[in-house]
Amino acid sequence: MNYVWAFVVGGAICVVGQLLIDYTKLSPARVLTGYVVAGVILSAVGLYKPLVDLAGAGASVPLLGFGHLLAQGVQNAVDSCGLPGAFTGGLTAASGGIAASLIFGVLAAAVGKSRDQN
C-alpha cells in the first residue's frame, strides 16, 4: 500500500508541475524554486506532514518535500536553541541532499565530457 500511495501522490505532484509548465510557460528553474518555497509554506501551515505520513517518498522525493525538510529542520532547531535556530535549522536538515548534489556534480564533471545536453 505504501508503494501505491508513493506512486499516486508523487505522480500527482509532478502533474501539477507539468500543468504549470504547459499553461504558464514557467522555466524549470522557476518551477523548482517555486516548489521548494511552496513546500516550506505547506509544511509551516501543517498540510505537508500528513501527506508525508501517508505517501512516504511520494511526498518527500518531489521538491515540495525539500521545502518540508527545510521547514521541519528550522522548527526543530528553534525548539532546541531558540531564535538562532532560524538560521541553522533549514540548511542543516537539507545538507545531505545539497552536499550529495555538489559532490556528485563535481565528480561527474571530472569523469564526463562536455556534450550536447539534448
Partner: protein
Amino acid sequence: MKLDPRRYDEMIGRASPPSPVVRDCAWAFCVGGAICTLGEGLRQLFLIWYDKTLAGTLTSIALIFLAALCTLPGWYQKLAAKAGAGTLVPITGFANSVVSPAIEFKAEGWITGVGAKIFGIAGPVIAYGTLASFVWGVLYWLLGKVG
C-alpha cells in the same frame, strides 16, 4: 456531405490524438510516480538499519547518485524530453540541474566553469528555500513566545 461546425469539431475530436497537455501529464504522472516509488523502495531498505530522518536523507543521496549516473551518458536528459515535470520535480531533477551544467561547463575551467555554473539552478532554489525557512523559523519562534 454537409457538416455544421459543431459536428465537425466532434469528428475532429474523435479522430485526433490526445492533446499534448494530456500526453505530457500522463508521462509526468507515470515517470514521476515511478521515481517516487523507487525512492520509497530505497527508504524501506534504509529503514531496516537507520531511523526515519537518516533513512530519508540516505534515500535522497541514493537518488541523487543515480541521477548523476544517468546524467553522465545523457540518459536522464533523453527521458526528461518526454517526461517533463516527471523528471524535473523529483529530487533527481534537482540533481540533474546541478550535474548537467557541471559537465557542460567543464570547458570553461574548474572555478568559473564547473564551480560557478553548478549553482545556475540550484542557487536560486537554495537561496529562496533558505530564506523561506528563515522567515518561517522567526514566525515559529514568535508564535512560541506568544502562545
